[in-house]
């Protein structure tokens, strides 16, 4: 009797989870599969495999528009920002973890406050700051903002992690005469790699997908990021479904592919801010 009940419940669970999985996968399937069809075929049979595969959408994404440029811009600003976040946040985190004082606690809390407050609220003043710095409509203008945005989560995750580094490790290095910076560079940083991955992944998804700041700061074609480009293309070619779907696919695939390859780290990274905060 009980066994039957348990089995029944298990089947129920599978039904619920499968239905949701289908709801997740169908839109993505439609996006990818229709990007290989002609416009007419999309209308005729939106769900099946294409009778005739076509790369027209992809070819025009990469030739007709400045898409390669947007792509490059996004890769550049995302990687440089992440590098900046990791360098600055790990330096700060090291100091906070090692220096027991009221100042370091205050600095830590100051950084943490940023996790609750969306930086967008400061957009009006950021516009003025960038304008005064002559960085409006420049891709590079996003860099300091992205670094500032990434600091709270970076400092939080890295500090928590560095606190778990056993003090014996650093103490013996001290006795051997290593300076603070050498201990940081040669002992602590290599140990912190998993936490850095968490920070990098979190910011990768947030920054790669960011639309807000490019939208309000950037106008020029040559400075646009991928997401801003997607927005503009969508407005321009509303009815060219093949092109639109190819664009969306291209914008999505890099991150989703990375995610599928490293699902565990991604889930850890993207929920990191929440779980302990």
């Amino acid at each position: 009797m009980a066994a039957v009940q348990v089995r029944g419940r298990r089947i129920g669970s599978h039904i619920i989870l499968s239905v949701w999985s289908i709801l997740v996968l169908i839109p993505l399937w439609i996006m990818v599969i229709n990007s290989f069809k002609s416009k007419l075929a999309i209308y005729r049979s939106p769900f099946g495999l294409p009778d005739q595969w076509t790369l027209d959408g992809y070819l025009s994404v990469f030739s007709r528009s400045s898409f390669p440029r947007y792509f490059f811009n996004s890769i550049a600003i995302t990687t440089i920002s992440i590098a900046g976040i990791i360098i600055l946040a790990s330096l700060a985190a090291y100091a906070i973890a090692r220096w027991k004082s009221r100042v370091s606690t205050a600095v830590f809390l100051f950084f943490l406050a940023g996790m609750m407050i969306p930086i967008r609220i400061g957009s009006i003043n950021l516009l003025m700051i960038l304008r005064n710095l002559g960085l409006l409509d420049q891709l590079i203008g996003l860099l300091p903002i992205y670094i500032a945005m990434g600091m709270p989560i970076g400092v939080f995750v890295l500090t928590e992690f560095m606190r778990t580094v056993p003090p014996e490790l650093t103490q013996s290095a001290y006795i051997d005469g290593a300076g603070d910076f050498r201990i940081f560079w040669q002992i602590v940083l290599p140990l912190t790699r998993p936490a850095m991955a968490t920070v990098a992944i979190f910011n990768l998804v947030v920054l790669w997908n960011d639309l807000w700041f490019p939208l309000i700061f950037i106008r020029s074609e040559s400075q646009r990021t991928l997401m801003l480009g997607v927005t503009r293309l969508f407005g321009q070619y509303q009815t060219d479904w093949t092109l639109i779907l190819s664009t969306l696919t291209v914008a999505t695939v890099p991150i989703v592919l990375l995610y599928v390859l490293m699902a565990k780290q991604f889930i850890a990274g993207l929920t990191a801010g929440a779980v302990k905060g």
Binding site: A92, G114, P118, G122, I129
Partner: protein, 309 residues
């Protein structure tokens, strides 16, 4: 007095480690935030916001004609947007977490991976994709309804006042449900198996196990999820922008604070097209205050009611 007897206080070396990060964070996050609050008390044209007007921007938002009509509309819609996420997204998240925490379910890793995929998509991409799927001419959603004999329910989903906002909120819930799922799941997996064994021996029903063991133990995580949902949604913009546009059509019925802020402070409200930055800063400040108060309230609720004793 010689230089010798006059000793500067030694600055701990740690300051230098913190300084670069602190500088960038302060200059590009803390200061802009504070300055934007301050700007809400000023008015002017373009980037020249230097006439002090006290709380006049707030008065306009809260009471003056069309400005306040739009503001209160957006304010109310933001709560609806938030409520749909709280109810749909977080209940589904809890349900999925409960199902996935049972070790008897095969393929857990696969389900988990799939549920989380949308959270890695750009919000704009999700928005555009669903906009296509919901399109009344081609939209896959209506075609599917027809295919299963529910063609009568086919709608121009994003064109109906009142419906469009809910549909957009549901799409956004579809995207983010993986986050509460994973948070609840990790909380459930942290519960010691002994507790369930003991409950089993005592003959507790699965409802009793849920309400007496799981729920109290994951209650603090509910607080985390609620706060996260709240801050993310009061700050939302992209999904409405992608699916409906900056004006929150039809007839401003899907306008939320994020899109209103964008129109007023950055793009310029139709038909004038010139941003009113002081007014925009006032909208931002109100978002900030609501967030601040909301988070404080939720923290106390979820901290105090967490335990029975």
């Amino acid at each position: 007095m010689t230089a010798r007897s006059f000793r500067l206080p030694r600055i701990p070396v740690w300051i230098w480690y913190m300084l670069p990060g602190l500088l960038v964070y302060t200059a590009f996050m803390a200061v802009p935030l504070f300055k934007s609050l301050q700007l809400s008390l000023y008015t002017g044209s373009g980037f020249q916001i230097d006439t002090f007007v006290g709380f006049d921007n707030y008065r306009r938002l809260l009471t003056e004609g069309e400005v306040s009509q739009r503001f209160w509309g957006a304010f109310g819609h933001t709560w609806v947007f938030f409520a749909v996420h709280m109810i749909v997204q977080n209940s589904l998240g809890l349900l999925f977490a409960l199902l996935l925490s049972s070790e008897a379910i095969k393929g857990r890793a696969l389900y988990r991976t799939i549920i989380f995929i949308p959270a890695t998509l750009a919000i704009v991409v999700t928005g555009f994709l669903w906009k296509l799927l919901l399109n009344p001419q081609w939209g896959a959603v209506n075609l599917m309804l027809e295919a299963v004999g529910l063609g009568a329910f086919a709608q121009p989903w994003l064109g109906i006042e009142g419906v469009s906002l809910v549909v957009i909120s549901l799409v956004s819930s579809w995207q983010w449900v993986g986050i509460p799922t994973m948070i609840f799941l990790s909380a459930l997996q942290a519960i010691s198996g002994d507790l369930f064994e003991a409950a089993d021996i005592d003959g507790a029903s699965s409802w009793t196990t849920f309400s007496r063991i799981k729920l109290p133990l994951i209650w603090p995580m509910m607080g985390v999820v609620a706060i996260l949902t709240f801050t993310n949604n009061f700050n939302a913009f992209d999904v409405v922008f992608a699916m409906a546009g900056a004006n929150g059509p039809p007839n401003y019925s899907s306008d939320i604070l994020g899109t209103y802020f964008y129109r007023v402070g950055i793009a310029g409200e139709h038909p004038v097209g010139i941003p009113d930055m002081g007014l925009g800063a006032a909208v931002a400040s109100i978002i900030f205050v609501v967030l601040f108060v909301g988070v404080l309230v939720m923290r106390t609720v979820f901290q105090s009611d967490g335990t029975d004793d």
